[in-house]
């Protein structure tokens, strides 16, 4: 039975609107129209305002009282879509439903078909709300909406799933060619209309650990198997990713030498990390592969918190973390207690908690930055490891210039986070 006393605060970061940032940047002919409150628009404006662009290709259809008391959603959204089409001429519009329409069960997704018929512009309906375990899963919903429109095929083709930069894509293409594999297609591509065929024999290789929804959707609807792999973060992850990809085509190819070379090229940063300890606060769903590669870099991983572990999809990552304490949706207070007990040299957490932890003497790396940087593959490994190393170097430099050590043990005062005991 439902027991409210076991509820924990599972996440306290921003919502799945955030991926609009990197997705609208990737798909140059896309427009993101979100149905939500003025706060949704405020968040989008603020968060995406950190990127400088000529013309924003996102907007919010702001709900008012009439919408909440039953105005027809299609009637309300239609003139907005027509105005967007006239002004921006997008190839596709991503129609996002947020918390309010989701709870009220306003049928935003149902407007996609009639709007597409009306305007001739491709409409992709997707959920971008605060209910996902991690905000990165906004991309998951967008990709699932795109997979629905992909043509089908019987060929054993490769589709790389997940938003990557041009550099990361180039590496994928090069390696597939070198391995004698079919040329990979990418989803998302630079055009929102560029949809690769996906069928029962497709090797759908996800590059992000937060894409379980679209991978399982493809499995259900198109019949392609869930490609079990380690994700291409870090030299070790990239090696395993390419070797697994080759194995899907019956080829045994070793990337051991490439991995060794990649580690060597990152040695300056690895040296700063080696022997230090790290803990992960549950945040982006990137925790499993990041913990794996930092351990491979020689760090001691004290504890890993992550919002969701998908049994099949994360199987290889989970196996690679054998011997490390992994917590799924950890209780916040217990997590603070663990941090206090372990005092890791580095904590990977979200920005909202970073200052509080820094104030307690921890060295914090903000993980959100990884969603905006090209960190995949061998090409991305220096950037990935470099980010953590830079954090460590900065912390060490500050420690040297301060009178007292930054890492002097300061017990965490948890009273701030606890509710006062009820009378």
């Amino acid at each position: 039975m439902f027991d409210p006393s076991t509820e924990t605060i599972e996440r306290d970061d921003f919502c799945s609107l955030a991926p609009i940032g990197w997705l609208h940047h990737k798909m140059q002919d896309s427009f993101f129209l979100v149905v939500g409150t003025h706060s949704c628009q405020g968040f989008l404006q603020t968060a995406l305002g950190v990127m400088i662009f000529a013309k924003p290709r996102f907007a919010t259809a702001v709900l008012d009282e009439d919408d909440l008391s039953g105005r027809d959603t299609l009637e309300a959204v239609q003139p907005l879509v027509e105005a967007i089409v006239a002004e921006h001429r997008p190839a596709a519009i991503f129609l996002g439903s947020t918390c309010t329409p989701e709870i009220l069960k306003m049928n935003v997704a149902g407007c996609a078909k009639p709007l597409e018929a009306l305007t001739g512009v491709r409409m992709y309906p997707c959920r971008l709300d605060g209910f996902d375990p991690a905000y990165t899963q906004g991309e998951d919903h967008v990709l699932a909406a795109m997979i629905e429109r992909c043509p089908t095929t019987d060929a054993q083709n490769i589709v790389i799933l997940g938003c990557l930069s041009a550099i990361e894509e180039a590496e994928m293409r090069l390696e597939c060619a070198a391995m004698g594999l079919p040329e990979p297609a990418f989803l998302p591509a630079e055009s929102a209309l560029d949809l690769p065929p996906i069928g029962p024999n497709t090797v759908l290789a996800a590059v992000h650990p937060y894409l379980y929804g679209s991978v399982s959707y493809a499995q259900r609807e198109r019949g392609c198997a869930i490609h079990q792999t380690v994700f291409p973060y870090g030299p070790d992850g990239t090696r395993a990713f390419f070797e697994t990809l080759a194995a899907a085509f019956g080829k045994t190819i070793s990337y051991a030498e490439r991995e060794r070379a990649a580690w060597t090229s990152c040695e300056r940063d690895v040296a700063v990390l080696r022997g230090r300890s790290v803990s992960f606060v549950s945040d982006t769903l990137l925790e499993l592969p990041l913990a794996r590669t930092l351990r491979a870099a020689g760090m001691t991983v004290k504890a890993v918190g992550t919002p969701n572990i998908y049994r099949k999809f994360h199987a290889r990552e989970r196996a690679a973390l054998e011997g490390i304490d992994v917590y799924e949706r950890p209780d916040r207070f217990e997590m603070f207690a663990r941090l206090d007990a372990n005092r890791p040299d580095l904590v990977v957490a979200n920005l909202n908690i970073a200052n509080a932890l820094e104030g307690q003497g921890f060295n914090v790396k903000w993980a959100t930055e990884l969603t905006f940087q090209p960190v995949h593959g061998f090409n991305g490994a220096p950037a990935l490891l470099g980010m953590f190393a830079a954090s460590m170097r900065r912390h060490d430099a500050l420690a040297r210039t301060r009178d007292r050590s930054q890492t002097a043990a300061t017990p965490i005062d948890l009273s701030f986070f606890r509710e006062p005991a009820r009378a």
């Binding site: 709870i103 009220l104 069960k105 306003m106 049928n107 078909k113 009639p114 375990p133 969701n308 998908y310």
Partner: protein
């Protein structure tokens, strides 16, 4: 595949009607699933013999991680081969039942339920009160409204007809017809149905055997193995399988309906039992 949603005024007999209709389809050899969309979770108990675990109970048990749920945790086998699901919902006075129903309907889509069966019946509570409770309309093709020859159930039917008109623009199901329940004729339901462009599918007479069947957690086919009491459901199942015309109803403006129903009642005293659509 028959995808049916049953709506109607609260207490009019939707769950009784739905579970006996499911039983009739099951007895006709059709692979059937009934989805109870009501926080009271009392839609399917005559088919399963007990109150099965609800979807929201199971979800709460695994912290709402929908990926962790197996089909057989929420879909239960009932009599006559009918599979049963209860959405459940929050206790009275709390939460949002519509949200739970809406989420359940989406979850069942993930399990591929909408492709696996020959007949699917959504039994939806009371009047259409909000977005969530109209979610089953998105996944059904035909709607049956249960009413009787009184003011309240027809007034409620009219509101449901309005919702059908709105929802069909975004792919919702349309009206198969009305059922006059606990009635000896369709003297008010019939004219109303005709006025909105639809028809009466069947008239189900008041029968104490039906009441007893609910108290003993049995369908009418077990209560009366001769099949006599179950006749209307058996026949209706056959009609639905053969195909009935679906219409987008034109609801009557409410204040106009209010006065018309009164006039109908007076007129009914003079005319014989109106013809049902055959």
């Amino acid at each position: 595949m028959l995808k049916i949603a049953v709506y109607g005024k609260g207490g009019i007999g939707k769950s009784t009607f739905s579970s006996n209709l499911s039983a009739a389809f099951g007895r006709a050899g059709k692979k059937t699933i009934q989805v109870g969309c009501d926080p009271k979770h009392d839609s399917t108990f005559t088919l399963t013999g007990n109150l099965i675990p609800t979807v929201v109970e199971v979800l709460s048990g695994c912290k709402f991680k929908t990926d962790e749920i197996e089909r057989d945790e929420i879909i239960f086998k009932g009599k006559f081969g009918v599979d049963c699901v209860e959405a459940g919902g929050p206790p009275a006075g709390a939460g949002c039942g519509g949200y739970v129903v809406g989420e359940t309907v989406k979850l069942l889509e993930k399990f591929g339920v909408y492709k696996d069966y020959e007949v699917m019946i959504f039994d939806v509570l009371g009047d259409v009160v909000c977005g969530g409770f109209s979610a089953p309309l998105q996944h059904s093709e035909q709607v049956i409204i249960v009413a009787t020859n009184d003011f309240d159930s027809i007034f409620a039917a009219n509101r449901i007809a309005t919702a059908i008109g709105i929802k069909q623009k975004t792919g919702g199901g349309t009206l198969a017809g009305l059922v006059a329940n606990r009635a000896s004729n369709a003297e008010l339901v019939g004219p109303y149905a005709a006025r909105i462009g639809s028809s009466v599918l069947t008239v189900i007479p008041e029968n104490d055997g039906v009441r007893k069947s609910r108290l003993t957690a049995q369908t009418v086919f077990e209560q009366d193995p001769t099949g006599f009491i179950g006749g209307p459901w058996t026949n209706l199942a056959q009609r639905l399988l053969a195909g009935v015309p679906l219409v987008v109803p034109t609801p009557i403006p409410e204040r106009e309906l209010f006065s018309q129903l009164g006039a109908d009642y007076v007129r009914a005293a003079d005319i014989p039992a109106p013809a049902m659509a055959v």
